[in-house]
Structures are given as C-alpha cells and as structure tokens.
Symmetry: C2
Subunit: 338 residues, 2 copies
C-alpha cells in the first residue's frame, strides 16, 4: 500500500495543509437564509452587473477567489495551483475565471462534489511538496443551471416536493503549507455509485449510495467513528436524502445521530423560504456553507473536527434522455482545528 | 518556493513515476491513418455496438482503461486513483466509465489538454506517496463532439480548410511507483491564455498562446531547451497552429525545428485522407498518439526524452454565442526512458 494511504481510499497528511482563509459570495435567496451572517458578500442582483447569468457566475467565481486571496494577504501570482470546476458545460465559469486570475489551473468536473474534490487535490499538492499555496473553489448559479439542465426560467415550471434549489453562490479556500489551521487531516476519495435512480427531480436520493459508500469507507479506513466528529456534513442530499443516508450508515453500525447534517438543509429555511422544497443543491451549496459558516466555527473552535462530504450527481441532460440512470460521487475531507 | 517546484510552474519528481503500460483504441478514420500499427485496437463501427455515440464513447473509455490494466497484469481494485475527463457535457463518457470501473475517481475537465492534465495529477499522487498505481485517461468521439459543439451530422455542413477533425479514440496510461519506465520527470502546469480568437473553426490558432506560454515556461523553469528533447509534441494545434507555434517559440530564442510536431498532424495523412483539413483534434488526439506511437518509441528507446504538451480550447457553445473569445490551456509533461 502507498506510504501515505490508509485502507483503500483514504490519505492521511503528515504535514496537514492549513486553510488560511476562505471567502463566500451568496445570491439573494441564500442571503435571506439562516447562514446569511457568515457570507462575505450577498448579491443584490443575480446578474452581478453582467449581461448573462453565465457571465455573472464566472464573475462570482473570480471575485470569490480574489476575496479569499485578499483575506490571506496574497495575490494571484503567489498561488501555485488553482483547482476549480462548476456545473456549466465545459466548466466555463471556472475557465473564464481562471483566464483572469492567471494561476496555473487544473479544471475539475465532479458536479456538486467539486468543493471537496478541489480541497482533496489542493491538499495533496501542498502536503506532497509541490505547492506553498493552492486555491480550491467552485460555484453554481440557479439561473444558469436551471436553463442548462432543466427548462428556461420563463416557463415557470412547477417543481415537485423532492426537487432541490440550485444555490447561487461561490466559495473559495486558500490552502497553505504553513498556517494556524484549520488543517486538512484526511481525504477519502469517492467511487462512482449508481443504484438506478432515474428521477432528476430527486437527486438527493440518487446521490445517497455514493455518499454512504464514501462515509463508510472513511470510517473503516481511518478507524474513526461519528463520535470522533463534531459535525458530519454532506453536500446537497436535501431533506429526503439526508434522512435516507442516516439510516443507511446506521445500518452498518455507525450512528451519526445529531452530528449529521446536510448543507442543502442548512442553507435555506425550508419551512419559510418558498420554492426551495427539499433544500439546496449545486456546487455552491457545500461551498458557501463550508467557506462561510463551517470555517467560521472551526476558526472560533466551536467545532473541533468536521467531515465535509460534498456530493455530486453525474448526469447530463443527454444521458437522461438516453435512458441512463443517475450515477453519484462523494469525496470526504476531514478538517480540524487543533 | 515549494520544495519540489522548479520556477513558477514546474514540478520535478524525485521518485519519477513509471508508465508501466498504455492502451489505445482508435476509430475507423484514425485506423486508416499513418499511426495505425501502434493502436491496440481499431473500431470497425463508430457505434462500438452501442445505441448512441455517447454510449459508444463511454465504452471506448472503459475498454481502453481495462486494456491498459490487463497489459500491466492489474485489475481495477489495485488502482488507487483514476484521473479522467472528456469533451462531453458533464464528462459523461468518463463518469459512466468510472461507474463500471469502481476506481476512486477524480473527474477532470481540460478539454483537449486532458491527457497531460491527467498524467500530471497521476504523477503527483504517485511521487507524493498517495498511490502505488494511478490511471490517466481521456477520450473523444467525432460524432458525439460534432453534434454537441457544432451541427447535427445529418446536415452535412461544409467545413473550412482551417477546421480540424475530432479524433475518435481513447488512450489510457497506467502509472506506478515502481517500474522500468518510461518515467515522468517534469510536469509544467498551464495557465489559461486568451488572445481574442473567436473563430471556432480555427481552434489551433486559439490554443497557440497557451501552448507557447507553457512550453516557454517549461524551458525557463527547467533550464532545458529543444536540443535536450528528441520530440516535442503539442496536442492538437493542427497544421496552421503548428506552424505558428514554431515561430512564436523561436522568437523567444528556442528553435524547436525538426524536434517539433503536433499530434493532430501525425494522426492523419492530411494529404490523402479526406475531410481532415488542418489535422486532428479532440482529447483523443494526443491520447492515442501518445499511448500508441510515442509510448512505443520510448519503450524501444528510439526516443529518449519527449515533451508532450496537450492543448485545450476552453470554449462552450454558450460562451461563443455570448460573444466570448476562445481561451486555451496547455499542460506539459516530460517523459523519458532512462
């Protein structure tokens, strides 16, 4: 087995990278949600002063990275690698953002798992000695996602109760070789899992097998269990998926109980905010929740050890039209303040 | 500066990963090209026995990985990480392939730069001590790319002389901690460059600034020059881009001369094969050329040191419709048999 590997899918960092700063910019609806005080900025206009939602999302991505760098007193030329991806075809939000930032760029596609995919890769290049600084980031935008994946917004399509609401927002984390934490301690890389769910309006359920596989693998590889964590947060399983995964993981002997939540449940007030139905989704969902609220709580030592498990549904409109089911993937990252 | 970093963008491996096997599967037109004898398999049918081109491409991706593993006497459960991406929206070829392979999966999007993007990441996780084995792979399919990016094939659209032909094919490389070479010695990670080209029928030219930036940065970071290489191969600049980059790099004092070629020029006989116009393109272009011909020549020691520079155009139909120019990226990997 590789020297820094624990079990089949987990890496342990001997020189844990420090997340020296984060930034989050949230959309209007997210800015009305319960975590509003933790975002660095809330948009007043979903177009962010641009001519299209796609250009707005790219600006969101770029401005969030620049804000995370300025909070760490760094400039783009000091950053060794940028790991970024998003939901749009050919990840144009990230690519066009990287064009302005001029940081050596690895483009990723992990759908809504991108926050932890990028954190995983950024952590490895730093612990591996290839970088002093790396940025992990992702974004999503309700309007650009909706028209690409579903229907033109102008249709005013009705959405079933299982549907989730794509978060408009971006989160960026600056990782460094040296720093005062919080630190990335473990990374558990997910496999693509598919239990045959075909309902694109119930993506939370479609992603549960992948999330469960990664969480269980993480516990087995590390020997840790839910009691070792202050918080275990999946990315965007929503209310239905969130209930389901607690059961699935409990059946294998790991009771996550009150330690568990889902960023898609936390990001909105699903009782009061209209149309969010089963909660939030999108790359931005775990990105703004982690880079906003969770990071803040780690720095303040209100949370000691967190398992962040961003979850991605790897469908495309084409694969769905061709009768394929929805495969999922989830990557887990342990972040601790110690 | 990070301990294993040379200059701004290059990593030097102290324990160079060995590429212990490669596999390549090519389409019909590629199988009629000059490198036909180096592919492991040539399709007899562009649908590869599937019901759609997208499913065919995913099968192509999966079968190529399985073939590369069987040539190395390995099974998927022995592989620590799979790095894969492709041109299709939401990289469905790679994601659905990874679903069958069940290898921990990092999805990438670097357009046609994906072969060296995946080789770069795979090399870092092995040299970094996180993996004993990793697979780097990518694919493209003329028919799936054409209908996604351009027009339905049934239109029979005429293509200008600057247009390139998307390669149908997939290449996969198995990297290992221990092996007899060829070895990955350096990785130079590219930045997104954009000189304002907007013609999606002249993508070679659009990618030249990125390729030149990465190649020049590689020479500056490593202190190497064209005379230290037996072959410098870009991914898919084609005939026009290929001429252009020689001039641009020569003006900075590095004469690549006869050491230089482009995989898009080598993959077809542009004099005799109809419709390929300015040469090949697509993720599969540098993938099958490297995993077929170049790898073979390294193993036979006909080539001692090669710089492979896969080149990606980061446009999407949406970004083009919104008036954006075409940004490019290029990642360089030094492979040597020593």
């Amino acid at each position: 087995m590789a020297e820094k590997k624990l079990g089949q899918q987990t890496v342990k960092f001997n020189n844990p990278p420090s997340i020296i700063s984060t930034a989050s910019i949230a959309g209007i609806k997210e800015g009305e949600g319960p975590l509003r005080d933790y975002y660095d900025m809330v948009l007043k206009d979903d177009l962010f002063g641009e001519e299209s939602w796609e250009k707005a999302e790219s600006k969101l991505s770029r401005e969030t990275v620049l804000l995370s760098l300025s909070k760490a007193n760094l400039t783009p030329d000091k950053i060794d690698y940028l790991f970024a991806g998003d939901l749009l075809n050919q990840i144009i939000s990230s690519s066009f953002s990287a064009r302005e930032l001029k940081i050596p760029f690895f483009g990723l596609y992990g759908a809504c798992s991108t926050m932890t995919e990028s954190l995983s890769m950024a952590s490895m290049v730093i612990d591996g000695g290839y970088a002093d600084y790396a940025v992990a980031t992702t974004s999503s935008h309700f309007c650009s996602a909706e028209r690409q994946y579903r229907f033109p917004l102008e249709y005013g399509t009705q959405r079933p109760p299982t549907a989730q609401w794509t978060v408009t927002g971006s989160g960026a984390a600056v990782l460094a070789k040296n720093g005062n934490g919080p630190y990335v301690k473990f990374v558990t890389t997910g496999r693509v899992m598919d239990f045959g769910v075909k309902d694109a309006n119930n993506m939370g359920a479609a992603m549960v097998p992948a999330a469960a596989d990664t969480i269980l693998r993480h516990f087995k590889d590390t020997g840790l269990s839910p009691k070792d964590y202050d918080l275990i947060a999946t990315g965007d399983l929503g209310e239905l998926g969130g209930e389901l995964i607690k059961d699935v993981v409990a059946k294998e002997g790991y009771d996550m109980g009150s330690k568990y939540t889902d960023c898609g449940i936390e990001v909105y007030d699903t009782e009061k905010q209209i149309d969010v139905n089963a909660g939030g989704s999108g790359c931005g969902c775990s990105a703004i929740t982690f880079c906003g609220y969770i990071y803040d709580q780690l720095v303040k030592k209100n949370l000691g050890r967190v398992l962040l498990v961003s979850t991605g549904a790897l469908l495309s409109p084409t694969s769905s039209l061709q009768g394929e089911s929805i495969p999922g993937i989830a990557h887990a990252v342990t972040i601790e303040m110690g």
